[in-house]
């Protein structure tokens, strides 16, 4: 038998591609050496959001008296890590089963094994050789191992800890570092950030970067640039002050996870080099998601993977410059989409920014979460929206309105003209629109 497509890796690139391939009638086999759902489902996006929701729940409980909830003794409140993990595992297992169900429903086969690409049409796994017309490498990435903290905990291991460190040292950079630091802080630990580089979150608008740095400061989470630090055995010295830690956690930038391949696939900085169609240097072998080095975002991985299926099916691809959100599940949440102010300036575009605070938003006040704002960046000629940035509870969901607006090339006039329900947080889109 010859498969139409063999997918190696089952994260947000692999599993999404498999479902769509099945729907399109392609005979598809997914091979993953470990988990269904990959890093994102098993120890990335989903588990981190689940434990963050637990920590945010603790914050809510602490503030409940203000809402009129009596009978809570905040002094007795504590965080039960084992229970938070148990809840997380239930969610992960439910979602895994959901993926396997969708695969089965769409005729996708699955094999748990290590795969080796023998040729553009042959994959070896579980001591067998599978013939295929196309191969999609979707093996993802993992935090680069650290020379400076060789014993640092890998994020994958976090969920196996029986109890959490009191003074975790988070070494690395990126959105998940910030999320993790806030997680530890919210549950009463004393995290320290040792940043490989600043800005902390690459690709983020400097306005949001500045907001999050201020927030960390307000929460008394030390942010130490590694270049200015002296690393000792169990402490960091920075500006004459010593910061002891009891566990280092590796939240470094990621390296590609490459499958074993016989054909000589071209790499670029360690990632698989691909073209517009996510095809590697070898025709018929595609690479989508983190492994091709274009982005580390799960939804971009899925979008690329869908484009691979479109390419195989000879369907025209969506336009290349589609906007996609960058979400940070911080407290409050942050989200951005489209161009940053720096990018707009660099492109020499005449632009304006409409900014609107949440502190006069009735729904945000009713929810007790009015810290935040929206910023809409648009070009001055037609008022087409180029970028949107938000800080608010649920900003990661609210940004989707900007996504559809930008997909349809909408303007700030469209935002002002669209009737938004009252009272909603989303009214800020209308408030920040432009009067004709």
């Amino acid at each position: 038998m010859i498969y139409d497509l063999i997918i190696i890796g089952s994260g947000p690139a692999g599993y999404v591609a498999a479902i769509k391939a099945g729907q399109r009638g392609l005979k598809t086999l997914v091979i993953d050496k470990k988990y269904v759902g990959g890093m994102c489902l098993n120890w990335g996006c989903i588990p981190t959001k689940s434990i963050l929701e637990s920590a945010k729940m603790l914050q809510k409980v602490r503030s409940a008296a203000d809402f009129g909830i009596s009978g809570i003794d905040t002094a007795t409140l504590s965080f039960d890590w084992q229970q938070a993990v148990k809840r997380t595992q239930q969610i992960v297992s439910k979602l895994s089963r959901g993926i396997e169900f969708l695969w089965k429903k769409n005729g996708v086969e699955f094999l748990k094994a290590e795969a080796k690409i023998l040729s553009p049409t042959q994959v070896e796994a579980d001591k067998r050789v599978f013939e295929t017309k196309n191969i999609l490498i979707a093996t993802g990435s993992r935090p680069a191992p650290r020379q400076d903290f060789v014993e640092a905990l890998n994020l994958e291991e976090l969920y196996s800890l029986e109890s959490l460190p009191e003074k975790p040292l988070l070494v690395g950079r990126g959105a998940n570092l910030v999320e993790l630091a806030q997680f530890f802080n919210m549950i009463g630990k004393e995290p320290i950030i040792l940043a490989d580089e600043l800005p902390l979150i690459p690709s983020l608008d400097s306005y949001l970067e500045s907001f999050i740095q201020k927030k960390l400061k307000k929460d008394k989470i030390p942010l130490i640039p590694i270049a200015e630090a002296t690393i000792k055995d169990k402490s960091i010295v920075f500006k004459d002050k010593e910061y002891p830690f009891d566990m280092a956690i590796n939240v470094s930038f990621r390296d590609a996870v490459l499958p074993e391949t016989v054909p000589d696939i071209t790499l670029e900085k360690g990632f698989i080099k691909t073209d517009r169609f996510h095809q590697s240097s070898i025709p018929g072998i595609y690479a989508a998601g983190d492994v091709n080095g274009k982005s580390y975002l799960a939804h971009v991985a899925s979008a690329q993977a869908l484009e691979v299926i479109d390419t195989i099916m000879k369907v025209e691809l969506p336009r290349e410059d589609r906007s996609y959100p960058l979400n940070i599940y911080s407290e409050p949440e942050m989200a951005q989409i489209g161009m940053t102010e720096e990018q707009i300036k660099a492109a020499g575009i005449d632009y304006k920014v409409n900014q609107y605070s949440l502190n006069a938003n009735g729904k945000a006040l009713a929810e007790g979460t009015s810290e935040g704002f929206i910023r809409i960046l648009y070009e001055t000629k037609y008022h087409e929206v180029l970028g949107v940035q938000m800080v608010s509870e649920h900003a990661t969901d609210l940004i989707s309105e900007a996504g559809i607006l930008m997909e349809l090339e909408g303007t700030t006039f469209d935002l002002a003209r669209t009737i938004h329900a009252h009272p909603t947080v989303a009214e800020v889109y209308m408030d920040a629109g432009s009067i004709e």
Copy 2:
């Protein structure tokens, strides 16, 4: 001095119109006999959402152990009505000050007095006569007084109660009746709904109506159609069962609140009859919001009021068939926009429904709120979206993505093509989109 515009009433029609009129340079005077912000701000939209958030907070605290929060004795939890009201008053007062600030900033004058329209160019208030070029009546509505429950509490009085009834009888119909019933239920009271008519929520798609009726049943909130009930002094008899109540609350459909007018303005079913430009039978006298009987929604009132300003300024109005959301702040929240399935059928349009459940949505599971779904109704030729319905936590905010989509006449293909961030609840829009 001659005003360009006198606005009578300062609810979501009046205050929004005043701000925009000021921005446009119109010499504007607002007259309100009671509150800045009208019913919506003072005892409608905002206070009800605030106390609902308090009740939802109690629900969250009850479920916190599942998230890993230890140290809460759910048996000792109770609802402190006085504190919930105090918090509500702080929010209301902050928003009132915000409105007055925006008025001042835009040169709008305010007079607290009862107004009487003497002619299309003269308004009497506080024993003075003010000359004006235009008048906007934005006096709103109030629940119709009841003949069957003459002693029923008016919603306006709810916030002055020292303590809440144990078995409130909610008489009337509509979204706020459902919200109030769930509020009482969530804080441990035993509400009874006595419905003037079914469906409970007019204009709601029957799919959502059926969902909310099932939810009320599950929560053991009796729903009794008044036509089948026998009303006794302190109880309702329905199907041989007696339902005692200790306080009746009037949540009836609303009557217009009409200002005293000398000129003979044409009414229709008790509301001021207006044309496309929200102009009454008397040129120069406009009526926006509940008082014209077109809608009871705050955001529609605001939209109408802005159209009045556009008309006065001779700016072309937005298209007449703009969609607007209908939000119900129930538990879970419900929202709809555009045509209902019944309306689409009645119009003879070929349509399809894409429905997608939240129970495989990673973010909803992480938040612990995966009860819900999205339904997208679209015509089959171009796949243009005609209506969207949602049930989910924050559905009232999430519906705004559908708002902008429909304003821009988008399709289900656009939804599927737009990259939605992972993990988000908003991904259901993409999931429920159509593959090309």
